[in-house]
Structure formats: C-alpha cells, structure tokens
Amino acid sequence: MGIEHASLGVLVLMALLIGPVLYYIRLARQERELYVRRIPGVGAIDEAVGRAAELGRPVSYTSGLTGVGPVLYACLGVLYHVARKAARYKLKLLTPQSDAQVLVVAEDTLRDAYRAEGRLALLDARNNMYLSDEQFAFAAGYMGLMQREAVAATFLFGHFAAESLLLAEAGQQAGAMQVASTISPEQVPFFICTCDYTLIGEELFAAAAYLTREPVQLGSLYGQDRAKLLMFVAIVVGVVIATLNSIYPELQLRNIEDYILRELW
C-alpha cells in the first residue's frame, strides 16, 4: 500500500533531504569554491558540437519519451548549453520531440539560447519538430531523420524505453558522435554499446551543473550529494539493525522504515 499522506518521519526526512540543498545554494551564491569531480561524458558534449562544427554537419538533440517533469528540466539545462554552442557556430540543430508539451518547452529554451547568443534570426522553428508520441513511430522518424540529415553529433538525454537501441544505432550508422544519458538503468547497457559516451542515471542531473558551473546548480549538486549521503548512512544503519536482528532474534529491533512510516495523526 502506498504512502498517501506524509507521516512525521516522512516530513523529517524531507527536511533532511532538502535542507542541505538550500544551505549549499546559499553557500554557492556567496561565491565559495565548490569542487565537482570530473564526469567523463559531460566534457564530450563540447567535443561533439566542435566536431559537428568542423564537419559542417548538423547536430541533433532529443529527450526521447521524456514528459514534462524534473527529468525534462534537467535535460533543458543541457539543451540550452548545446543550443548556445550551435548558435555560436551557426550549426543546424535538430530537436525531434515525442511530446507536444515538451515541443513547446523546447521551443522556448531554444529561443532563449539563440537570443542569448544574439542569433535569434538563425533559429528555424521547423528544426524543432514533433514526430510522434507513439514510441516506435518516433523511433522510425528519428532514424530516418538522422540518416537523411547526416548528423555529425547526436545527444540523447532523458527517458527512453525499448527504442533506445534503435535511436542510438541510427546515429551510429550515420557516423555521428553520440552522447547519451538516461535515468532508466535498463537502457544504459544499450547506450554503452552504441554511444561514444554515456552518462548514467543521476549524471544527467549533474551534467548541467558541470557544464555551466552556475552557483545555484553547483550548490544544488552539493546538497544532493549530502542528501544521498544520508541515504547511504541510512542503508548502513538499516543493514546493521537487520544483521543484529538476524543474529539475536530476541532483540526484535525496529528498523528505520518503521520509524519513518509511523503515523503522525
């Protein structure tokens, strides 16, 4: 049975997860130096766009089956960065979409990116195209597009399902340099096999922070790490409690989830 309403434990956990984020964002805004380790695939984004500029061929960016939500918001950060580079190098940027609402959001982001580079006139609305919200119709359209346009760099960022391998193979056949990132662990193996660089899971969320080095994004990443550390410690404690219960069954220690889910009202 799901959690319909928050218990006290859930509220405390929420505060413990969000609190560090707010603290580090404040710290980052005070221009404190914040270390972020190198994420290999992220540096490849600029390399891929540079390659496309040298070859004079288009760049493609898709968020796959991502709907409106936090994942899309993370993808938009990378799209903004790629679009600014494409505008700067006067590259054709194709952004095929599978969701009509995402189409509008992407259109907005592209406009902002091109305007920031002072190249709004270069933006061609026809390159931000809706293909289909049906998974394989989208894949069919994307595959044909990659081949016909002979793209030099493709970015696959977001949520993908079984069509992930089709999309990645199409770019591979076109000879494009590919950088992929998905939060669906099931699709990561296919991207690893076909793409030049793959960002796994939450590296998608870290990518924009790493690229832009903006204080808010870096601070958020720091806070996120502290939140994950809390989860890490909780798992260690939970495992210790479970082990003690197994060795000494008479102890009957209550584990962490019992405390979290205890009803408040």
Binding site: A6, Y35, R37, Q101, E134, G144, M231, V239, I256, E257
Partner: protein, 239 residues
Amino acid sequence: MSTVNYEPWTLATILTGGLGTLAIFSFLVRENRLYRIFEHLYIGIAAGLGLVVPIKNYIWPQILVPLLGYDVVQYPDGTFSKVYDPTNLLYILPLSFGCLYYFVYSRRYAWLSKLVIGFSLGMSGGLAFKGFFNEIIPQLASSFKPLVVYHDGALDLFRSFSNTVFVVTLLSVMYYFFFSFRRRARFAEMGAGLGRWLMMVCFGAFFGSTVMARMALLVERLQFLLNDWGAALRYCIGL
C-alpha cells in the same frame, strides 16, 4: 492451389503489413525511398490516432461530458438521474488556461505560453514529492538485508554471501555517484572503482537477459512474413 479464401479487407491488411515490414527492414541496408514513405505514413497514422483517441478516452468522458451535463439523464417521468453539479463549469478554466500553449506561435505574446509551461512544471514538481517517497521507502526497506542469515539455527552461507554481495554492490555504486567528495584516500578510489566494475556486471547481465526477448520478436515477424504474408501473396498470384 491455395484452399484458403481471403476476405478482401483481411487480404489487404496482410499484404500491406508485409510490405511495410519489408520497408522497415530495408533500413538495415540504408535509408531509402520505400522506408521513407512508410516512415511518414506511420507517423501520420500515429498522429491521426493520437488526435482522436485522447479526446475519445479522456477529454470527452472525463471533462466535456460532466461540463456539458451529458451525464445527467432524464427519465421518462420527467425526473433526472442526478442534479447537475455547477462546479463542473470550473473545467472551463483549466481548458482555457491550457490554450495559452498556442501563444508559443506568436512573436509578441509568446511569453503567455511560459505561464502554462511554468504551471505544468510546477505541477510535476509538486507531484514529485509523493512519487519520491512512494518509491524510495520500499526500496530502502528492502535494502536492509542482514549480512548474516540463519536457517533452522544453522548459518545459511549462500544467503549470507548473496546479501553481502547485494549490500556491497549497492553501497559501492552509490559511492561512485558522489560528485562533490574528493577521493583522496586509496580506499575511496577503490570503492568507486569497485562500484564501476559492479555496474558493468549489472549492465552485461541485463544486456544478456534482453537478447532472447528481442530475438523472439524478430522470429515472430519473420514467421509473419514467411507464413501469413507468403500465403497471401501466393493466393493473389493464384498459386
């Protein structure tokens, strides 16, 4: 001579389906005109379906029927099945607000579309809290595995080993994804390295598990081409 008699629509369906399948398969060689035509037909058909089906399955029964009062039925004696709820009229507000999306095509008023985009982003942000806790709590709870397991008083070595591998994998992969902690100590680098290796095992295992399923799909399509489509073709040419 084939003894099966095909009904015209069925015959057309099988023949077109087979031709479409071959057109898709032709992409394996290279992108070509036949593939392009069927690709565009597929997108068009999916778009046509996507236009009507949401209206038929959701907008009409859930929004417009209660709004227009079509769910209120008049009985033969003049009484009504229920009283029309005037709060249903409030559905006009979200529908009108959603129409602001279309201002994205206006140069001057494009900012209005940002209102509804922001609303949708905010809505999914608000929804994320419940979704997060409903996913993370069960995942955490089922991760609390004992490293030492007893069965009928005796130490169950296999389960203890399995649980230990599970917990070590979970923690080392989680450790790999820390971006802001410096890995100065050798132990720290080793932990992250172990996480990466175990992820590779995981991805390899998952890759291997999907191979058979994907092959089965291919076999099904080949069987359709050889059996159904082949038979329909032979029927057409009189064999």
